[in-house]
Every structure is written in C-alpha cells, then in structure tokens.
Symmetry: C2
Subunit: 201 residues, 2 copies
C-alpha cells in the first residue's frame, strides 16, 4: 500500500500477500483483512499448511515435479506407462494435464523455456536429466507439450534437435480449434493450422 | 480443485488459499505453485508473518479497529481530534479513509450493517461502546461514513435514532458525483443527489 495506515505487522502481511500472482495492492489488503478476521479458522491453518509444505516439498530428482517424495508419486506409480514422457514447461501444466487425465505416461518438467533476451539458456532448464531419460532403455516416445507460444515452440525445436540421436519417437500436441471455441474469436494461425490438419469424416 | 492431482499437503494449501477473497480455484493453484517455487523468499516469510499477526493482533476495546495494542494507535494518538468520531462499517473502510488522510478525529468500527434477512441485528454490531462514547464528555460530532447501500443507509437511520438523546451532532458523507467520474456512467440516484446538493459558484 502506498501509505502505511496500519502497524508494521499488518503492513508486512499485506506486502507479502501482494507478492502472490493475481493479487494487486487492493486485493492484498482485502485478503489480509479477511485473514485477520478469521484468525483461527483460516490464518493459523494456512500458516501451518505453508510451514509444513515448506518443510516437506521437494523437487523430484527424476522429472522435476514437486511432491513430498522424490522420485515423485507419478514417477513411482507402477500403473503408469514407463515408455512415454510428456514434456511440460511448468508444474502447473503438469497439474492441468493430470486434471484432464489425458496422460497415461510420465512427465518431465522443463522449468521454463529458452529465452535469450531474459538470459535463460539451455543450462537453466531441466535438460540433462531429460537427455539421460531419453537415452535410457524404457522410453520410446517423448510428447512435447510446451505452450504454443514463440518461446515454447522455439524451445521445442531446440529439444527436437537435442534428442535427434536418442532412439525415441518425438511428438507434439496438435494445433486446432479448441473444443467449444468459436471460430470468430480465433486467430489466423490457429485457423490455418486447423485447416491444414483437417480430418476426413 | 475438482480432482486431486497433488499430494495432500499441496491440496490442503490450495484449498486454504482458495478461501481468500478474490481467489478462485485456478488462481489459488497459481498462488500455491508460486509459493512452492519461492519457498524461502516468500512461503516461509509469509507463514511467519501470518503466525506473528495471529499472535499479536487484537481488537481495539474502544473503537473496534485491529492493531497490536488496545486501545489502538489511532485511539491513543494525542494529535488526533478527540471530539469527533467517524463511524465506519469495516476496518477496510477505516484503512481507506486513513490512506486518504481525510479524518482528523477518531473512528468507530461497526463491524457490519443491520441485515434482518441475514440474521444480523443490533446486538451483533459494535453499538454498545458507540453509545457509551457518544454519551461521554469529549465527543461533539459523529460522522456516519457507512456505505451508500440500502443496508448502510438503513443502519445509519437506526443509529441516528439510537443517538438521539446523546448530546452530539450527527453528520453523514455527502452524496454526489465522484471526482473524476463521468456523468454518463452514473446512476440516476447519484445524479439526483448531486443536483439537489448543488453548490453555488
């Protein structure tokens, strides 16, 4: 907040809450006030949940997912297809695919995309273990599920080149009209891709 | 989240964050992920700030504001005008007026508005101490700064009646065109009030 009208404790609380994505100064104040008014029902349990999560959460040494165990529950799940890796940019993308229950295989979290302007090079991404996994015996397909942005796509190209020598099939998500989407609202690139990849009925 | 794709610790964290005002399931997941990825820079400090605030914050016995001391810093501030009380609905409203630096006097936080349908009666509001303060020697004016909603205005009427016997001047905020506001976007009630209270130049 621009002006401090509260004591330092509340001001610090508001300032820290304001660092969460999607919360501006006004909503941070509202959230802080809500917490202060629900001290025992919400603020203490949330503080406890955060402290516990901070203690227990580790990054999976195999795929880069976050979990309380490493390798993570997904990597350890024997019912999953060990021959397929779905490559995603962030843990949030992994969660989205898991909610949709569309990936039978395992994951690999890249941790970002190549972005020379922001100083993000290959060394900053979770690539070494990806190449190791791709060269292992079990993997037969890597599905590149990076965002359909310029950075995502150029990173996908870089990774395709990187995995050239590995004996794996490399695939990417299809482009096309989102299910439920209206043509009028779609950009030309999406429409062109949807027409190019049209399916015969 | 509709489906649990994380361990119980992260699921609980997301669920608790989702109880904050203004955060839906999607933004709660984003916020949780952000916290998990900034464990030491954000999650631990925020947990600490919340635990400390939960320990230290008390409600001011005089005005109902929240602070680490009771009476609160505003009630204890000797430079403030002790003869005027500004009556607000919530601590958030008090903060808004303090940011604007427009109240030289003290405050009284009502803690809500009368709402028979929601079962909120006079006993649920911070009225007893208000009447006590109004009947004290120091107070000469009570400015009712409740929201210009139906509930706020009917509560204002109730309080005006309640304070009839107290020897204090009762005032309310002016209605009119917000500074910077465009007439085209204002409702008829506001326009009518602005015309009725027009000022001669």
């Amino acid at each position: 907040m621009s002006k401090n009208v509260t004591g330092p404790e509340i001001a610090e609380l508001i300032q820290l809450i304001g660092k969460l994505p999607g919360l501006g100064p006004r909503s941070a104040r509202r959230a802080a006030l809500h917490l202060l008014q629900k001290k025992d029902q919400l603020m203490r349990p949330l503080a406890k949940a955060m402290t516990e999560a901070a203690e227990k959460i580790v990054e999976c040494s195999n795929c880069g997912n976050i979990d309380t165990i490493s390798p993570c529950a997904i990597c350890q799940d024997e019912r999953r297809d060990k021959s397929m890796i779905c490559l995603v940019e962030t843990v949030g993308d992994l969660w989205a695919l898991e909610r949709a229950e569309v990936i039978k295989g395992q994951y690999h979290v890249l941790g970002g995309t190549l972005s020379p302007l922001d100083g993000v090079g290959p060394d900053d991404l979770n690539l070494t273990t990806l190449v190791e996994r791709a060269n292992g015996d079990e993997i037969s397909e890597i599905l590149i599920a990076l965002n359909a942005t310029v950075e995502g796509q150029s990173t996908a190209h870089y990774i395709t080149d990187l995995l050239e020598d590995a004996n794996v099939k490399i695939s990417r998500l299809a482009h096309g009209v989102p299910v439920g989407g209206e043509l009028d609202y779609l950009d030309e690139g999406t429409l062109a891709a949807a027409i190019k990849s049209r399916k015969q009925l």
